[in-house]
């Protein structure tokens, strides 16, 4: 089983757009699970030291897949997120 880590970065407490993004990622993750790809969805505080050290300055909300920032400053649809995650999974094999 393939495994992907997706992180949603946003301020704490989460703002509306970050909640929306997390929902979209979770919806996409559910669909991928049916195809045998497991997606671990994490939430990371965008102004934490950890986030800054890993990714530098970002605009919220941001999405990373396997440690690579793929979007920031806007909320991609669940379809778009699904495509991104599938591509990441196909690269892994």
């Amino acid at each position: 089983m393939k495994k992907i880590v997706a992180e949603v970065l946003g301020p704490n407490p989460p703002c509306y757009t970050c909640i929306l993004l997390k929902k979209n990622v979770e919806a996409a993750a559910k669909r991928l699970k049916a195809d045998g790809i497991e997606v671990e969805v994490k939430r990371l505080d965008i102004i934490s030291r950890e986030a800054i050290r890993k990714y530098g300055l970002l605009l919220s909300p941001a999405l990373t897949v396997n440690g690579v920032v793929v979007s920031m400053g806007w909320v991609p649809d669940d379809d778009v997120v699904e495509d991104i995650l599938r591509e990441a999974a196909s690269k892994q094999s």
């Binding site: 301020p11 703002c15 800054i52 890993k54 530098g56 300055l57 605009l59 979007s71 806007w74």
Partner: protein, 343 residues
């Protein structure tokens, strides 16, 4: 699939061009987009008629301006090269000031972007100066505020407001980066070691998806801001109808008017553009232009913003920038009032 995509791109581009075109057309025809009702119109209306009449009057003129402002804000936000900002913001001090004052404010229409970006600028090593500059500049010069100040108040005021805020923001940033407590915070967040290579590969979407995303963001902004905006209009209609002109003329003009406007402008500020509409109402009642500028510049030290930033940089810095912003708001109000002969 490709045909659908081209059709959709064409349709969305057409919509955007139509909005921009009709605004330019209204400019050429010198058609006013600001509310036209004056306090005298409200005489003889019952209390519930006043807000209805005012909002109808406002929308019949202002819908195009509002539509344009939100569409433009969405487009700017979507098509601004965000990677450029985040990559260079932390690179050097001068670059930090330039980006913090010049570009970053354009796409911080959403307050939940503002505080993280403020913290990010500080943590990534550009220092506290650029961070403060960005923070003070952001509410005064995002694309929505500029467009609406221009349309509802006057373009002269909009330009003066941007210049005044720019000066205030840069000077406040420079001063705070030289204070001992500002330096202490900078030392605390000084990046250790060299900058790591960050892994960023932003996915690019086709044009139609990006246009759609831009308009979606416009819609999101409108949904968030418009309810408060209309609530503000209701308040303004009552202010216009019941506030006696001699009270405004007495308290909101002259030097004391500037002082008063700068003090009440801050706490009243909400990131919902209400201050612009309320300003329009007060100006119709005789508020001076100088006091108006102080009123608009009072925003950087609004309370929620101060609480959020104090968690990152502590109170001493917050109080310092608030005091600097206040001094500048009063002196710019005074200067502008003297220059425009409307004190």
């Amino acid at each position: 699939m490709n045909g659908v995509r081209i059709l959709r791109t064409g349709f969305l581009l057409g919509f955007v061009l139509a909005v921009f075109g009709s605004l330019i057309y209204s400019r050429i025809m010198a058609y006013s987009l600001a509310p036209t009702m004056k306090p005298a119109h409200f005489q003889g209306m019952s209390p519930w008629e006043i807000p209805v009449a005012y909002i109808v009057d406002y929308l019949s003129h202002g819908w195009l301006c509002l539509l344009f402002a939100f569409v433009a804000a969405g487009l700017v936000y979507e098509f601004m090269p965000k990677e450029v900002i985040t990559r260079y913001m932390g690179s050097s001090r001068a670059m930090g000031y330039a980006l913090g004052a010049g570009i970053a404010p354009f796409f911080t229409v959403c307050s939940c972007t503002m505080v993280p970006l403020f913290a990010g600028i500080l943590y990534t090593g550009a220092g506290i100066g650029p961070a403060i500059t960005f923070l003070l500049m952001a509410p005064a010069s995002n694309i929505l505020t500029i467009l609406l100040t221009g349309e509802i108040l006057s373009w002269e005021l909009a330009i003066v407001r941007v210049i005044a805020s720019l000066t205030t923001a840069v000077v406040a940033g420079l001063i705070i980066s030289r204070t001992p407590w500002g330096r202490a915070i900078e030392m605390e967040h000084h990046p250790t070691g060299q900058n790591p290579q960050h892994n960023i590969q932003i996915i690019k979407l086709p044009l139609d998806e990006r246009l759609l995303a831009a308009l979606k963001f416009s819609l999101y902004l409108a949904k968030r801001i418009l309810p408060y905006f209309f609530l503000g209009l209701v308040v303004v209609s009552y202010v216009e109808a019941y506030m006696a002109e001699d009270i405004v003329a007495k308290y909101l003009t002259g030097f004391s008017g500037i002082l008063l406007a700068s003090v009440i402008g801050g706490p009243l500020y909400t990131p919902t553009l209400v201050e612009i509409v309320l300003g329009r109402g007060l100006m119709d009642l005789g508020m001076s232009k100088g006091a108006m500028l102080s009123w608009l510049m009072g925003q950087p030290y609004d309370i929620p913003n101060m609480i959020a930033t104090s968690r990152i940089v502590r109170w001493k810095v917050v109080v310092t920038y608030a005091v600097i912003a206040w001094i500048f708001s009063v002196s710019f109000g005074l200067t502008y009032g003297l220059l425009s002969k409307s004190l």
